[in-house]
């Protein structure tokens, strides 16, 4: 079954636009990124691969440590590796700025 994970991170910066990148295909994921108003970021992950909550926490934690942006992120994942997720996050942020 699908696992749904939620995370929150503190944020100090903002982004201009929303961005949509990626695709729900094998080894890939789709990311919807939207500017958030309050100084926090919220992430919802829906994944077909269960039991990797800690890995998601690490990948997202590293992303927000480098880019403390106030955004709402929704990820639809179809078995993307941590490296692919990290690249997709960077791509979404670049498109949103």
């Amino acid at each position: 079954m699908i696992e749904t994970l939620t995370y929150e991170f503190p944020a100090t910066q903002s982004v201009e636009h929303r961005a949509h990148v990626g695709v729900v295909a094998s080894g890939n994921c789709e990311i919807l990124l939207e500017p958030a108003k309050d100084g926090r970021s919220a992430v919802v992950v829906r994944t077909s691969v269960n039991g990797f909550g800690g890995t998601w926490q690490a990948v997202l934690g590293r992303f927000f440590a480098r880019n403390p942006v106030a955004v709402q992120i929704e990820i639809n994942d179809f078995g993307a590796t941590p490296a692919v997720v990290a690249l997709r996050l960077e791509q979404a942020l670049e498109s949103a700025q």
Partner: protein, 269 residues
């Protein structure tokens, strides 16, 4: 090598980028995009992660300066399969194009399909969607050309191959495939003697774009190159093929086709 480097591949793009590539530059405007979050409500319950656009992109813009609408399905998401949402997006776009044509403001309709057919997780709704799409294509075809572009990695199989056959112009690439049953289905149903689905040359010999052109199931063969495909689309609208593809010639009216079929089955229409 030079040709390879100069080619702008269509097949390597995702659905949204394909739609963008077929519309005139800077005119792409998506309808019911990913942020509307109109995804399939049935997939999660079946353990499948949905996609925010349901794998179908509908975009308005212009083609050759004329109002246009491009529908593109994404073959990477569940094989480009059509469920309730994607199907409704396609049927709705065709219906709006028909209304536009009747009001004297024609909208050039391009179906850039890359699909394995109806989504098994939404089978009945997918079948319903295909019938609505077929109806809408036939209605629009009376007023203006309906152009299908099959130039993706999947091609067009299953239910949508029926809808595609009804289009008045069908542009195929050499790498694309068109068929009702896909190779895996044929192998499963009829045995490996009938079709070895791992035999890729065989698959292209019997369902590839080049063959489909020669059989009359397509009206133009293009290379996997965006400018070549755009040129073919422009030709399709500017000098439409009077007769249309084979299916449209043989069965100008799908109701007659149904009656013929029923008679052949010795059932009173």
């Amino acid at each position: 090598m030079t040709t390879m480097l100069l080619t702008e591949s269509f097949a390597e793009r995702g659905a949204r980028e394909r739609a963008r590539a077929l519309l005139d530059p800077q005119t792409f405007r998506e309808l019911i995009g990913p942020f509307e979050r109109i995804a399939s409500p049935y997939l999660a319950a079946q353990g499948v992660v949905p996609q925010s656009d349901d794998g179908t992109v509908v975009a308005r813009g212009t083609i050759g300066g004329v109002r246009a609408c491009v529908v593109a399905t994404d073959g990477r998401f569940l094989g480009g399969s059509i469920g309730e949402i994607g199907g409704a997006k396609i049927a709705g776009a065709l219906e709006l194009a028909r209304r536009d044509a009747q009001r004297g403001t024609p909208t050039r309709m391009v179906l850039a399909l890359d699909t394995g057919g109806i989504r098994l997780q939404e089978a009945n709704l997918g079948i319903l969607a295909v019938s609505e799409i077929c109806d809408a294509i036939v209605a629009l075809r009376e007023l203006m050309p309906v152009v299908a572009v099959i130039a993706g990695r999947v091609g067009v199989y299953g239910g949508l191959s029926l809808s595609t056959a009804l289009c008045s112009e069908i542009i195929v690439s050499e790498g694309a495939r068109v068929g009702l049953n896909g190779p895996d289905v044929v192998e499963t149903e009829s045995g490996i003697e009938e079709m070895d689905s791992s035999d890729r040359p065989l698959i292209w010999r019997v369902t590839g774009g080049r063959l489909r052109l020669r059989q009359g199931f397509a009206t133009e063969l293009v290379s996997d190159d965006v400018p070549a495909i755009r040129d073919a689309i422009a030709r399709a609208f500017e000098t439409p093929n009077e007769l249309g593809p084979l299916v449209a010639q043989v069965f100008p009216d799908p109701r007659l086709a149904r009656d013929d079929f029923l008679r052949a089955m010795e059932i009173q229409p």
